[in-house]
Assembly symmetry: C2
Homo-oligomer: 319 residues x 2
């Protein structure tokens, strides 16, 4: 029975690419408990081989359909593919319209493709930790490419992008808002940009706008390719795939991949440490009379919340 | 000169409703430094009077236009109104299409309306702290109603909703995705739902779907009103305003407002404490040889990131 399986046996099965074991391992990691952490400790030395590509952009941009088209290409080339979706509006994560589901069905049935979704809420140990764990486990299970699909607007989703080797930003034609956000630097700087739904009347205008924003980059910056795609008709998908491969090859050639991964690891370690500290704190303060007294002061407007937070962060034993 | 102004003089001017002083105070609070914190400490006893309404929903749902329509009604009723926008696609926060800007212009010029926007990135002390500070300052400056506009998809945006007395969720007709997300509990449970763009052919279908989801609530739950609005034509705006007033009146009558605010304060204090702890940690670890050695272990795949985080969160002095 699953509950009796020793982590090391589960780890062996994950390493062997057993899908049921991988699914169970991700659930354990998502629960945030010791057995999930033990599993990741055990498997971490076997990670680092997968090429992790973050796919981000506003809801409705067609991220899932584009990922589906890229999966088809990578599968033809003989690679295995994992998908981790943390976008609540994605067909991968369950918010599907029927048409999307049907289109994705071939990938759901393909043994060389593993798809997992994760709700923004409900990951007990925090979304970032759960996503990181799932990516590491898919990596250990031997998937060559892993797509991490996120919505390109919340801070949490941007943080998730710290886990990846490349960021693909998918935009919708005519969305001046997205271009503005890109300009304002709100969206994490992408490595490749796809303007999806190439047959949209505003597709070329949007492409020009995006290239205009990119042209504002300081001289000597790495050039960010922006191209038109039509995930359904297939237009531009080969070019997009090539751009992603070229980005990866450039990182490899310059030794930049190691630097990027180290920066990512630094952010991950700090974020996880803060998340753990907060979880410990909440546990410690549950029912703590001193903390309740402190909250009474805040509620009575005698002590402001920032000062109360300072007191707590200064002395871990609470109020 | 502003730099020489003592916080207490600035605090007096904020209390007097001086707009320039309020704008400067919010900037100080956003910087996350001691002078901003001192100002909030000073003004916190004068807060708690404003009715803070969170307005959330996917990009393009028309949140800003609906807020504009609600502002007009509240102004007619003699109330002063503050708006804090943390939605990167909002016309309030700069991602404007020309038409939206023109429609909002009357409010920008109205001395009884104060509008401030905040990018998701760039708030040095963290977005949640900056938003909380800005809300408290607007409250101290005497605004009767404050609208907090956020995108209803990232975790960070959901957290911001912890600052409010009521959550208004704005949906677009035909967005089955949003309804799915609501069903999955991914979006924070709203207090009032507006399906905006009432003239859309799918408006009534979406209304039925939303009411279907709401009907799944356990018996005895507070009823959540869902209604059709057309922010531009004005349809449903009066009914929406009435629903928001009724929600506030119910909270007041049941003493539930105090309970909700205490829950919010608890979350805010914990979140701020964790954010401060992380900021302190990053400061402490900058250039720390032990931490760099720890990252070397992680980069070499000898130590997994979760274990590294545990070590750091266990002992504040670093690696």
């Amino acid at each position: 029975m699953p509950a009796l399986m020793a982590p090391s046996e589960l780890a062996q099965r994950v390493l062997a690419g057993d899908r049921a074991a991988l699914a169970r391992a991700i659930t354990l990691a998502q629960d945030g408990g010791e057995s999930g952490r033990g599993l990741i400790r055990e498997l971490y030395p076997s990670t680092g081989r997968a090429n992790v590509i973050g796919v981000t952009g506003p809801p409705g941009a067609g991220k899932s359909t584009l990922i589906g088209a890229l999966i088809a290409r990578r599968r033809e080339a003989g690679s295995t593919v994992g998908v981790l979706s943390v976008d609540p509006t994605s067909p991968f994560s369950g918010g599907a319209v029927l048409g999307d589901r049907v289109r994705l069905a071939e990938h759901f049935l393909d043994p060389g493709v593993f798809i997992r979704s994760m709700a923004s809420r409900g990951a007990l140990g925090g979304l970032a930790a759960a996503a990181l764990g799932a990516l590491l486990l898919m990596d250990a299970a031997g998937f060559d490419v892993i797509f991490l699909e996120t919505v390109g607007v919340g801070q949490a989703e941007i943080d998730v992008v710290d886990h990846v080797d490349a960021v693909l930003l998918v935009l919708v034609p005519g969305s001046g808002d997205a271009v503005q956000a890109l300009k304002a630097g709100v969206m994490e700087i992408p490595d490749v940009i796809a303007i999806n739904k190439a047959d949209h009347p505003l597709a070329r205008v949007t492409l020009r706008e995006v290239r205009g924003v990119l042209a504002l980059a300081p001289p000597g910056s790495v050039e960010i390719p922006a191209l038109l795609t039509d995930a359904l008709g297939g237009e531009g998908v080969a070019e997009l795939d090539t751009a992603l491969e070229a980005h990866r090859a450039r990182l490899d050639a310059q030794g930049a991949l190691a630097a990027r991964r180290r920066r990512n690891l630094r952010n991950e370690v700090l974020a996880q440490a803060a998340a753990r500290w907060r979880a410990d704190l909440e546990e410690r303060l549950r029912g703590d009379a001193g903390f309740e007294a402190l909250l009474d002061e805040v509620a009575a407007r005698r002590l402001d919340p920032l000062s109360a937070a300072e007191r707590i962060s200064g002395q871990r034993d609470g109020a």
